[in-house]
Protein backbone atom coordinates (compact mmCIF):
# COMPACT_ATOMS: atom_id res chain seq x y z
CA UNK A 1 0.00 0.00 0.00
CA UNK A 2 1.64 3.17 -1.10
CA UNK A 3 0.63 6.68 -2.13
CA UNK A 4 -2.84 6.76 -3.58
CA UNK A 5 -4.04 3.37 -2.45
CA UNK A 6 -3.00 4.00 1.13
CA UNK A 7 -5.02 7.23 1.21
CA UNK A 8 -8.08 5.56 -0.30
CA UNK A 9 -8.09 2.88 2.35
CA UNK A 10 -8.65 5.46 5.04
CA UNK A 11 -12.34 5.93 5.48
CA UNK A 12 -14.94 6.26 8.15
CA UNK A 13 -16.26 2.76 7.91
CA UNK A 14 -16.15 0.50 10.90
CA UNK A 15 -16.90 -3.15 11.48
CA UNK A 16 -19.02 -4.01 14.48
CA UNK A 17 -18.92 -7.61 15.60
CA UNK A 18 -21.34 -9.27 17.99
CA UNK A 19 -20.51 -12.72 19.34
CA UNK A 20 -22.47 -14.58 22.00
CA UNK A 21 -25.57 -16.64 22.75
CA UNK A 22 -28.55 -15.70 20.56
CA UNK A 23 -31.51 -13.96 22.18
CA UNK A 24 -34.28 -11.50 21.40
CA UNK A 25 -33.27 -7.88 20.99
CA UNK A 26 -29.62 -8.08 19.94
CA UNK A 27 -30.03 -6.41 16.55
CA UNK A 28 -32.44 -3.87 18.03
CA UNK A 29 -30.01 -3.08 20.86
CA UNK A 30 -27.02 -2.53 18.57
CA UNK A 31 -29.08 -0.62 15.99
CA UNK A 32 -30.36 1.65 18.74
CA UNK A 33 -26.89 2.64 19.87
CA UNK A 34 -25.90 3.33 16.26
CA UNK A 35 -29.06 5.27 15.39
CA UNK A 36 -28.81 7.48 18.44
CA UNK A 37 -25.30 8.44 17.28
CA UNK A 38 -26.39 9.04 13.66
CA UNK A 39 -24.40 6.12 12.37
CA UNK A 40 -25.65 4.57 9.15
CA UNK A 41 -25.68 0.76 8.87
CA UNK A 42 -24.44 -0.31 5.41
CA UNK A 43 -24.66 -4.07 5.77
CA UNK A 44 -25.61 -6.73 8.29
CA UNK A 45 -24.81 -10.41 8.06
CA UNK A 46 -24.87 -13.21 10.56
CA UNK A 47 -23.82 -16.78 10.95
CA UNK A 48 -23.33 -19.30 13.72
CA UNK A 49 -19.93 -19.86 15.25
CA UNK A 50 -20.06 -23.20 17.05
CA UNK A 51 -23.16 -22.70 19.23
CA UNK A 52 -22.94 -18.91 19.22
CA UNK A 53 -24.44 -16.18 17.13
CA UNK A 54 -21.88 -14.18 15.18
CA UNK A 55 -23.20 -10.99 13.66
CA UNK A 56 -21.22 -8.46 11.71
CA UNK A 57 -22.37 -4.95 10.83
CA UNK A 58 -20.60 -2.57 8.53
CA UNK A 59 -21.39 1.01 9.46
CA UNK A 60 -20.46 4.48 8.32
CA UNK A 61 -19.26 7.04 10.84
CA UNK A 62 -19.21 9.89 8.30
CA UNK A 63 -22.21 11.83 9.62
CA UNK A 64 -21.65 10.97 13.24
CA UNK A 65 -19.83 13.19 15.67
CA UNK A 66 -18.97 10.43 18.11
CA UNK A 67 -15.40 9.17 18.17
CA UNK A 68 -14.61 5.49 17.90
CA UNK A 69 -13.45 5.21 21.52
CA UNK A 70 -16.72 6.51 22.96
CA UNK A 71 -18.74 4.36 20.58
CA UNK A 72 -16.76 1.30 21.64
CA UNK A 73 -17.60 2.05 25.27
CA UNK A 74 -21.30 2.43 24.50
CA UNK A 75 -21.36 -0.80 22.50
CA UNK A 76 -19.45 -2.62 25.20
CA UNK A 77 -22.00 -1.51 27.77
CA UNK A 78 -24.88 -2.62 25.55
CA UNK A 79 -23.12 -5.94 25.10
CA UNK A 80 -23.02 -6.45 28.85
CA UNK A 81 -26.77 -5.78 29.07
CA UNK A 82 -27.42 -8.33 26.33
CA UNK A 83 -24.87 -10.90 27.51
CA UNK A 84 -22.82 -10.80 24.29
CA UNK A 85 -19.44 -9.40 23.27
CA UNK A 86 -19.69 -6.34 21.03
CA UNK A 87 -16.68 -4.64 19.55
CA UNK A 88 -16.08 -2.01 16.89
CA UNK A 89 -12.94 -1.84 14.80
CA UNK A 90 -11.81 0.32 11.94
CA UNK A 91 -12.47 -1.37 8.60
CA UNK A 92 -8.82 -1.04 7.50
CA UNK A 93 -7.73 -3.85 9.75
CA UNK A 94 -9.85 -6.32 7.77
CA UNK A 95 -9.17 -4.77 4.37
CA UNK A 96 -5.44 -4.89 4.97
CA UNK A 97 -5.49 -8.52 5.97
CA UNK A 98 -7.76 -9.89 3.26
CA UNK A 99 -7.39 -7.58 0.24
CA UNK A 100 -4.26 -6.70 -1.68
Amino acid sequence: MQGQTWKEAKGNRIIISVIGPDRVGIIAGVANVLASNEINILDISQTTLQEYLAMVLIADLKKSRIDLDTLKDQLHQKGQELGVRIDAQHEDVFQFMHRI
Binding site: M1, S17, D43, V93, F94, F96
Partner: protein, 452 residues
Amino acid sequence: MLTIQEILETIKMVQEEKLDIRTITMGISLRDCSHPDPYAACQLIYDKILRLASNLVEVGEKISREYGLPIVNKRISVTPVSMIAEPSRVDSYLPFAQALDRAAKDVGVNYIGGFSALVHKGCTAGDDILLDSLAPALAETERVCGSVNVATTRAGINMDAVYKMGHVIKDLARLTARENGLGCAKLVVFANVPEDNPFMAGAFHGPGEPECVIHVGVSGPGVVKRAVEKVPGADLGTISEEIKKTAFKITRMGELVGRSAAEKLGVPFGIVDLSLAPTPAVGDSVAEILEAMGLERCGTHGSTAALALLNDAVKKGGAMASSSIGGLSGAFIPVSEDAGMIRAVADGSLGMDKLEAMTCVCSVGLDMIAVPGETPAETLSAIIADEAAIGVINQKTTGVRIIPVPGKKVGEMVEFGGLLGRTPVLPLNRYSSAGFIARRGRIPAPIQSLTN
Protein backbone atom coordinates in the same frame (compact mmCIF):
# COMPACT_ATOMS: atom_id res chain seq x y z
CA MET B 1 -16.94 -6.13 0.11
CA LEU B 2 -15.49 -8.25 2.89
CA THR B 3 -17.22 -11.52 3.68
CA ILE B 4 -18.40 -12.39 7.16
CA GLN B 5 -16.00 -15.36 7.16
CA GLU B 6 -13.04 -13.06 6.55
CA ILE B 7 -14.11 -10.70 9.29
CA LEU B 8 -14.61 -13.53 11.75
CA GLU B 9 -11.26 -15.05 10.80
CA THR B 10 -9.50 -11.83 11.80
CA ILE B 11 -11.46 -11.56 15.03
CA LYS B 12 -10.67 -15.18 15.88
CA MET B 13 -6.97 -14.64 15.28
CA VAL B 14 -6.92 -11.91 17.91
CA GLN B 15 -9.43 -13.37 20.37
CA GLU B 16 -8.49 -17.04 20.39
CA GLU B 17 -5.13 -17.42 18.70
CA LYS B 18 -3.37 -14.52 20.43
CA LEU B 19 -2.34 -12.58 17.34
CA ASP B 20 -0.74 -9.40 18.56
CA ILE B 21 1.53 -6.59 17.61
CA ARG B 22 4.40 -7.46 19.92
CA THR B 23 6.08 -4.11 19.81
CA ILE B 24 6.15 -0.66 18.30
CA THR B 25 9.75 0.43 18.60
CA MET B 26 10.85 3.98 17.97
CA GLY B 27 14.44 4.21 16.78
CA ILE B 28 16.13 7.45 17.76
CA SER B 29 19.52 8.65 16.61
CA LEU B 30 21.58 10.13 19.43
CA ARG B 31 24.44 11.16 17.21
CA ASP B 32 23.85 14.84 17.98
CA CYS B 33 24.01 14.22 21.73
CA SER B 34 27.76 13.73 22.20
CA HIS B 35 29.51 16.17 24.52
CA PRO B 36 32.91 16.31 26.24
CA ASP B 37 31.07 16.82 29.52
CA PRO B 38 29.31 13.50 30.27
CA TYR B 39 26.55 15.13 32.29
CA ALA B 40 25.78 17.55 29.46
CA ALA B 41 25.68 14.57 27.07
CA CYS B 42 23.30 12.67 29.35
CA GLN B 43 21.03 15.71 29.55
CA LEU B 44 21.00 16.02 25.73
CA ILE B 45 20.11 12.31 25.45
CA TYR B 46 17.33 12.56 28.01
CA ASP B 47 15.85 15.68 26.41
CA LYS B 48 15.93 14.25 22.91
CA ILE B 49 14.20 11.01 23.88
CA LEU B 50 11.51 12.92 25.74
CA ARG B 51 10.99 15.29 22.84
CA LEU B 52 10.56 12.54 20.24
CA ALA B 53 8.92 9.74 22.21
CA SER B 54 6.70 11.50 24.71
CA ASN B 55 3.48 10.42 22.97
CA LEU B 56 4.69 7.04 21.70
CA VAL B 57 2.74 5.13 24.35
CA GLU B 58 -0.42 7.21 23.89
CA VAL B 59 -0.34 6.78 20.09
CA GLY B 60 0.25 3.04 20.48
CA GLU B 61 -2.76 2.69 22.74
CA LYS B 62 -4.95 4.75 20.42
CA ILE B 63 -4.08 2.58 17.42
CA SER B 64 -4.67 -0.52 19.47
CA ARG B 65 -8.21 0.62 20.31
CA GLU B 66 -9.00 1.82 16.79
CA TYR B 67 -8.09 -1.47 15.15
CA GLY B 68 -8.97 -3.76 18.03
CA LEU B 69 -5.46 -5.24 17.93
CA PRO B 70 -3.43 -5.64 21.10
CA ILE B 71 -0.10 -3.79 20.98
CA VAL B 72 1.81 -5.42 23.79
CA ASN B 73 4.92 -3.25 24.09
CA LYS B 74 6.06 0.23 23.21
CA ARG B 75 9.82 0.53 23.18
CA ILE B 76 12.73 2.69 22.15
CA SER B 77 16.03 1.86 20.50
CA VAL B 78 18.91 4.32 20.33
CA THR B 79 22.29 4.68 18.63
CA PRO B 80 24.85 2.37 20.27
CA VAL B 81 25.95 4.22 23.38
CA SER B 82 29.65 3.42 22.76
CA MET B 83 29.48 5.78 19.76
CA ILE B 84 27.73 8.60 21.60
CA ALA B 85 29.63 8.49 24.86
CA GLU B 86 33.09 8.21 23.36
CA PRO B 87 33.84 11.98 23.24
CA SER B 88 32.95 12.28 26.95
CA ARG B 89 35.98 11.95 29.18
CA VAL B 90 34.84 9.31 31.68
CA ASP B 91 35.91 5.81 32.62
CA SER B 92 32.41 4.38 33.05
CA TYR B 93 29.26 4.78 30.96
CA LEU B 94 26.97 4.00 33.87
CA PRO B 95 25.57 7.59 33.90
CA PHE B 96 24.52 7.13 30.27
CA ALA B 97 22.60 3.97 31.15
CA GLN B 98 20.97 5.82 34.02
CA ALA B 99 19.93 8.66 31.70
CA LEU B 100 18.39 6.15 29.27
CA ASP B 101 16.62 4.41 32.15
CA ARG B 102 15.17 7.68 33.41
CA ALA B 103 14.03 8.69 29.92
CA ALA B 104 12.39 5.29 29.37
CA LYS B 105 10.59 5.54 32.67
CA ASP B 106 9.40 9.08 32.02
CA VAL B 107 7.95 8.32 28.58
CA GLY B 108 6.43 5.08 29.90
CA VAL B 109 8.20 2.42 27.80
CA ASN B 110 9.20 -0.84 29.44
CA TYR B 111 12.54 -1.29 27.64
CA ILE B 112 15.07 0.90 25.89
CA GLY B 113 17.74 -0.80 23.78
CA GLY B 114 21.09 0.51 22.66
CA PHE B 115 23.57 0.21 25.50
CA SER B 116 25.55 -1.45 22.77
CA ALA B 117 28.80 -1.69 20.89
CA LEU B 118 29.75 -3.02 17.47
CA VAL B 119 33.16 -4.63 17.94
CA HIS B 120 33.32 -7.35 15.28
CA LYS B 121 36.68 -6.13 14.00
CA GLY B 122 38.04 -4.60 17.19
CA CYS B 123 37.36 -2.23 20.06
CA THR B 124 37.79 1.54 20.12
CA ALA B 125 38.49 3.25 23.45
CA GLY B 126 34.76 3.90 23.84
CA ASP B 127 33.87 0.26 23.06
CA ASP B 128 36.26 -0.92 25.78
CA ILE B 129 34.64 1.39 28.32
CA LEU B 130 31.18 0.23 27.25
CA LEU B 131 32.09 -3.44 27.63
CA ASP B 132 33.50 -2.72 31.09
CA SER B 133 30.36 -0.76 32.02
CA LEU B 134 27.87 -3.37 30.76
CA ALA B 135 27.57 -5.49 33.90
CA PRO B 136 27.12 -2.64 36.41
CA ALA B 137 24.93 -0.64 34.01
CA LEU B 138 22.47 -3.45 33.29
CA ALA B 139 22.47 -4.50 36.95
CA GLU B 140 21.75 -1.02 38.26
CA THR B 141 19.13 0.04 35.73
CA GLU B 142 15.71 -1.44 35.24
CA ARG B 143 14.76 -0.86 31.61
CA VAL B 144 18.03 -0.60 29.71
CA CYS B 145 19.02 -3.43 27.36
CA GLY B 146 22.47 -3.99 25.92
CA SER B 147 23.95 -5.85 23.00
CA VAL B 148 27.39 -6.43 21.57
CA ASN B 149 28.12 -7.53 18.02
CA VAL B 150 31.27 -9.67 18.13
CA ALA B 151 31.34 -11.08 14.61
CA THR B 152 30.28 -10.56 11.02
CA THR B 153 30.66 -12.67 7.90
CA ARG B 154 32.88 -9.97 6.39
CA ALA B 155 35.09 -9.39 9.43
CA GLY B 156 35.24 -12.78 11.12
CA ILE B 157 34.97 -13.31 14.87
CA ASN B 158 36.63 -10.97 17.36
CA MET B 159 37.75 -13.57 19.91
CA ASP B 160 39.09 -10.89 22.28
CA ALA B 161 35.54 -9.58 22.59
CA VAL B 162 34.15 -13.13 22.85
CA TYR B 163 36.60 -13.80 25.70
CA LYS B 164 35.51 -10.63 27.45
CA MET B 165 31.77 -11.25 27.05
CA GLY B 166 32.01 -14.54 28.96
CA HIS B 167 33.29 -12.55 31.94
CA VAL B 168 30.73 -9.77 31.47
CA ILE B 169 27.90 -12.33 31.58
CA LYS B 170 29.34 -13.93 34.72
CA ASP B 171 29.69 -10.52 36.41
CA LEU B 172 26.18 -9.49 35.44
CA ALA B 173 24.74 -12.74 36.82
CA ARG B 174 26.63 -12.21 40.07
CA LEU B 175 25.47 -8.59 40.39
CA THR B 176 21.85 -9.66 39.88
CA ALA B 177 22.11 -12.91 41.87
CA ARG B 178 19.12 -12.05 44.03
CA GLU B 179 16.89 -12.13 40.93
CA ASN B 180 18.40 -15.37 39.58
CA GLY B 181 20.84 -13.51 37.35
CA LEU B 182 18.01 -11.73 35.57
CA GLY B 183 20.34 -8.96 34.37
CA CYS B 184 21.64 -11.41 31.74
CA ALA B 185 18.17 -11.46 30.14
CA LYS B 186 18.86 -7.86 29.09
CA LEU B 187 22.08 -8.65 27.23
CA VAL B 188 22.55 -10.27 23.81
CA VAL B 189 25.84 -11.14 22.15
CA PHE B 190 25.38 -11.10 18.36
CA ALA B 191 26.97 -12.11 15.12
CA ASN B 192 25.77 -10.27 11.99
CA VAL B 193 23.44 -8.11 14.06
CA PRO B 194 20.65 -6.31 12.14
CA GLU B 195 20.52 -2.54 12.61
CA ASP B 196 16.75 -2.27 12.58
CA ASN B 197 15.57 -5.04 14.89
CA PRO B 198 12.58 -3.87 16.98
CA PHE B 199 12.70 -6.78 19.46
CA MET B 200 14.40 -6.58 22.84
CA ALA B 201 16.88 -7.22 24.27
CA GLY B 202 18.86 -6.87 21.02
CA ALA B 203 17.32 -3.69 19.61
CA PHE B 204 19.47 -0.67 18.81
CA HIS B 205 19.30 2.14 16.26
CA GLY B 206 22.02 1.32 13.74
CA PRO B 207 24.40 3.90 12.29
CA GLY B 208 22.76 3.50 8.86
CA GLU B 209 19.30 4.39 10.16
CA PRO B 210 17.58 7.79 9.80
CA GLU B 211 17.11 10.41 12.52
CA CYS B 212 13.97 8.85 13.93
CA VAL B 213 11.95 5.89 12.69
CA ILE B 214 9.14 3.53 13.67
CA HIS B 215 9.63 -0.22 13.47
CA VAL B 216 6.98 -2.79 14.22
CA GLY B 217 7.39 -6.33 15.52
CA VAL B 218 4.49 -8.71 14.90
CA SER B 219 4.00 -12.08 16.46
CA GLY B 220 1.53 -14.93 16.24
CA PRO B 221 2.76 -18.46 16.98
CA GLY B 222 -0.82 -19.38 17.97
CA VAL B 223 -2.20 -18.34 14.60
CA VAL B 224 0.45 -20.37 12.76
CA LYS B 225 -0.17 -23.40 14.96
CA ARG B 226 -3.88 -23.24 14.13
CA ALA B 227 -3.03 -22.99 10.43
CA VAL B 228 -0.95 -26.18 10.71
CA GLU B 229 -3.71 -27.94 12.62
CA LYS B 230 -6.22 -27.01 9.93
CA VAL B 231 -4.56 -29.42 7.46
CA PRO B 232 -4.17 -32.70 9.38
CA GLY B 233 -2.25 -35.34 7.47
CA ALA B 234 -1.32 -32.92 4.69
CA ASP B 235 2.11 -33.20 3.11
CA LEU B 236 4.80 -30.72 4.12
CA GLY B 237 4.51 -28.65 0.95
CA THR B 238 0.89 -27.97 1.86
CA ILE B 239 1.89 -27.04 5.40
CA SER B 240 4.46 -24.60 4.07
CA GLU B 241 1.77 -23.06 1.87
CA GLU B 242 -0.63 -22.67 4.83
CA ILE B 243 2.09 -21.04 6.96
CA LYS B 244 2.96 -18.66 4.13
CA LYS B 245 -0.65 -17.52 3.79
CA THR B 246 -0.94 -16.99 7.53
CA ALA B 247 2.38 -15.13 7.73
CA PHE B 248 1.15 -12.90 4.94
CA LYS B 249 -1.98 -11.97 6.88
CA ILE B 250 -0.12 -11.34 10.12
CA THR B 251 2.47 -9.17 8.41
CA ARG B 252 -0.25 -7.05 6.83
CA MET B 253 -1.39 -6.16 10.34
CA GLY B 254 2.14 -5.02 11.16
CA GLU B 255 2.28 -2.95 8.01
CA LEU B 256 -1.03 -1.27 8.87
CA VAL B 257 -0.02 -0.50 12.44
CA GLY B 258 3.45 0.69 11.42
CA ARG B 259 2.14 3.08 8.81
CA SER B 260 -0.55 4.35 11.09
CA ALA B 261 1.87 4.91 14.00
CA ALA B 262 4.46 6.59 11.78
CA GLU B 263 1.85 8.96 10.41
CA LYS B 264 0.43 9.84 13.83
CA LEU B 265 3.91 10.43 15.25
CA GLY B 266 5.15 12.32 12.21
CA VAL B 267 8.22 10.12 11.68
CA PRO B 268 9.10 7.74 8.82
CA PHE B 269 8.02 4.12 8.89
CA GLY B 270 10.97 1.73 9.00
CA ILE B 271 10.35 -1.98 8.85
CA VAL B 272 7.97 -4.75 9.86
CA ASP B 273 9.67 -7.62 11.62
CA LEU B 274 7.50 -10.71 11.49
CA SER B 275 9.01 -12.91 14.14
CA LEU B 276 7.12 -15.70 15.79
CA ALA B 277 7.94 -14.62 19.33
CA PRO B 278 6.48 -17.00 21.88
CA THR B 279 5.21 -16.08 25.34
CA PRO B 280 4.85 -18.42 28.29
CA ALA B 281 1.07 -18.60 27.66
CA VAL B 282 -0.09 -22.01 26.43
CA GLY B 283 -0.92 -21.84 22.71
CA ASP B 284 1.59 -19.05 22.08
CA SER B 285 4.49 -21.40 21.49
CA VAL B 286 6.85 -22.10 18.60
CA ALA B 287 7.61 -25.58 20.00
CA GLU B 288 3.91 -26.42 19.76
CA ILE B 289 3.95 -25.54 16.03
CA LEU B 290 6.70 -28.12 15.48
CA GLU B 291 4.73 -30.61 17.56
CA ALA B 292 1.59 -29.86 15.51
CA MET B 293 3.59 -30.93 12.44
CA GLY B 294 3.90 -34.40 13.96
CA LEU B 295 6.86 -34.39 16.35
CA GLU B 296 6.04 -35.99 19.69
CA ARG B 297 8.22 -33.46 21.51
CA CYS B 298 10.15 -30.45 20.32
CA GLY B 299 13.85 -31.36 20.24
CA THR B 300 13.45 -34.87 18.90
CA HIS B 301 14.94 -35.89 15.54
CA GLY B 302 13.24 -33.92 12.80
CA SER B 303 12.97 -30.72 14.86
CA THR B 304 15.63 -28.91 12.84
CA ALA B 305 13.91 -29.78 9.56
CA ALA B 306 10.50 -28.74 10.88
CA LEU B 307 11.90 -25.45 12.18
CA ALA B 308 13.67 -24.78 8.87
CA LEU B 309 10.38 -25.26 7.02
CA LEU B 310 8.57 -22.98 9.47
CA ASN B 311 11.19 -20.23 9.40
CA ASP B 312 11.42 -20.17 5.63
CA ALA B 313 7.64 -20.15 5.09
CA VAL B 314 7.26 -17.29 7.58
CA LYS B 315 9.85 -15.26 5.69
CA LYS B 316 8.26 -15.95 2.30
CA GLY B 317 4.78 -14.95 3.46
CA GLY B 318 6.14 -11.86 5.18
CA ALA B 319 8.19 -10.73 2.20
CA MET B 320 5.05 -10.84 0.01
CA ALA B 321 3.00 -8.84 2.48
CA SER B 322 5.28 -5.87 2.96
CA SER B 323 7.99 -4.22 0.94
CA SER B 324 9.70 -3.18 4.14
CA ILE B 325 10.44 -6.46 5.89
CA GLY B 326 13.51 -6.21 8.09
CA GLY B 327 14.91 -6.94 11.51
CA LEU B 328 15.14 -10.61 12.35
CA SER B 329 11.96 -11.95 10.70
CA GLY B 330 11.60 -15.64 11.39
CA ALA B 331 10.97 -17.85 14.40
CA PHE B 332 12.43 -17.22 17.86
CA ILE B 333 13.22 -20.14 20.11
CA PRO B 334 13.70 -18.58 23.57
CA VAL B 335 13.55 -21.50 25.97
CA SER B 336 12.14 -19.89 29.11
CA GLU B 337 9.54 -17.86 27.20
CA ASP B 338 7.96 -20.80 25.38
CA ALA B 339 5.71 -23.27 27.22
CA GLY B 340 6.45 -26.03 24.69
CA MET B 341 10.23 -25.53 24.91
CA ILE B 342 10.09 -25.57 28.71
CA ARG B 343 8.20 -28.87 28.62
CA ALA B 344 10.64 -30.30 26.06
CA VAL B 345 13.61 -29.41 28.29
CA ALA B 346 11.90 -30.76 31.42
CA ASP B 347 11.08 -34.02 29.62
CA GLY B 348 14.67 -34.43 28.45
CA SER B 349 13.82 -34.06 24.77
CA LEU B 350 15.61 -30.77 24.21
CA GLY B 351 19.18 -29.92 25.21
CA MET B 352 21.97 -27.53 24.36
CA ASP B 353 23.21 -29.49 21.34
CA LYS B 354 19.83 -29.67 19.62
CA LEU B 355 19.13 -26.03 20.41
CA GLU B 356 22.41 -25.10 18.77
CA ALA B 357 21.49 -27.12 15.69
CA MET B 358 18.09 -25.42 15.56
CA THR B 359 19.71 -21.99 15.62
CA CYS B 360 21.31 -22.80 12.25
CA VAL B 361 17.90 -22.58 10.60
CA CYS B 362 15.89 -20.14 12.72
CA SER B 363 16.04 -16.41 13.06
CA VAL B 364 18.25 -15.79 16.08
CA GLY B 365 20.12 -18.09 18.38
CA LEU B 366 20.53 -19.52 21.85
CA ASP B 367 17.95 -17.46 23.65
CA MET B 368 16.91 -17.30 27.30
CA ILE B 369 18.81 -20.39 28.33
CA ALA B 370 19.58 -20.99 31.99
CA VAL B 371 22.80 -22.83 32.78
CA PRO B 372 24.44 -23.72 36.12
CA GLY B 373 25.79 -20.77 38.11
CA GLU B 374 29.20 -22.37 38.41
CA THR B 375 29.71 -22.45 34.61
CA PRO B 376 33.18 -20.98 33.92
CA ALA B 377 33.37 -17.71 31.94
CA GLU B 378 35.44 -19.54 29.30
CA THR B 379 32.62 -22.01 28.69
CA LEU B 380 30.18 -19.12 28.18
CA SER B 381 32.67 -17.55 25.75
CA ALA B 382 32.98 -20.86 23.92
CA ILE B 383 29.19 -21.09 23.57
CA ILE B 384 29.22 -17.57 22.12
CA ALA B 385 32.05 -18.52 19.75
CA ASP B 386 30.16 -21.58 18.49
CA GLU B 387 27.02 -19.54 17.88
CA ALA B 388 28.98 -16.73 16.19
CA ALA B 389 30.65 -19.30 13.93
CA ILE B 390 27.24 -20.58 12.83
CA GLY B 391 26.17 -17.03 11.99
CA VAL B 392 29.39 -16.04 10.25
CA ILE B 393 29.63 -19.14 8.07
CA ASN B 394 25.94 -19.20 7.18
CA GLN B 395 25.65 -15.44 6.63
CA LYS B 396 22.84 -15.06 9.12
CA THR B 397 22.20 -13.37 12.42
CA THR B 398 22.86 -15.42 15.52
CA GLY B 399 22.77 -14.34 19.12
CA VAL B 400 23.35 -15.66 22.61
CA ARG B 401 21.28 -14.67 25.62
CA ILE B 402 22.34 -17.02 28.35
CA ILE B 403 21.93 -16.87 32.12
CA PRO B 404 24.38 -18.64 34.43
CA VAL B 405 21.97 -18.69 37.37
CA PRO B 406 23.91 -18.12 40.61
CA GLY B 407 23.63 -21.02 43.03
CA LYS B 408 21.49 -23.17 40.74
CA LYS B 409 22.32 -26.67 39.57
CA VAL B 410 21.27 -28.69 36.52
CA GLY B 411 17.57 -29.55 36.53
CA GLU B 412 16.53 -26.95 39.11
CA MET B 413 13.64 -24.73 38.02
CA VAL B 414 14.32 -21.00 37.70
CA GLU B 415 11.56 -18.39 37.66
CA PHE B 416 12.27 -15.13 35.83
CA GLY B 417 8.72 -13.88 36.02
CA GLY B 418 6.35 -12.27 33.52
CA LEU B 419 7.10 -12.62 29.81
CA LEU B 420 10.60 -13.91 30.60
CA GLY B 421 9.03 -17.09 31.95
CA ARG B 422 10.64 -20.04 33.72
CA THR B 423 12.99 -22.84 32.77
CA PRO B 424 14.93 -25.78 34.17
CA VAL B 425 18.71 -25.26 34.28
CA LEU B 426 20.24 -26.99 31.26
CA PRO B 427 23.30 -29.23 31.48
CA LEU B 428 26.44 -28.24 29.55
CA ASN B 429 29.37 -30.29 28.32
CA ARG B 430 31.60 -30.88 31.37
CA TYR B 431 34.93 -30.62 29.54
CA SER B 432 36.83 -27.34 29.47
CA SER B 433 37.17 -24.93 26.55
CA ALA B 434 39.55 -22.63 28.46
CA GLY B 435 42.67 -23.33 26.39
CA PHE B 436 40.91 -22.46 23.16
CA ILE B 437 39.29 -19.29 24.50
CA ALA B 438 42.52 -18.08 26.15
CA ARG B 439 44.21 -17.90 22.74
CA ARG B 440 42.04 -14.87 21.86
CA GLY B 441 42.82 -12.95 18.63
CA ARG B 442 40.55 -13.14 15.62
CA ILE B 443 38.96 -15.96 13.65
CA PRO B 444 39.35 -14.67 10.07
CA ALA B 445 36.41 -13.94 7.80
CA PRO B 446 35.33 -17.04 5.91
CA ILE B 447 35.80 -17.64 2.21
CA GLN B 448 32.61 -16.80 0.32
CA SER B 449 32.95 -19.40 -2.40
CA LEU B 450 33.68 -23.15 -2.17
CA THR B 451 30.87 -23.25 0.38
CA ASN B 452 30.17 -26.96 0.80
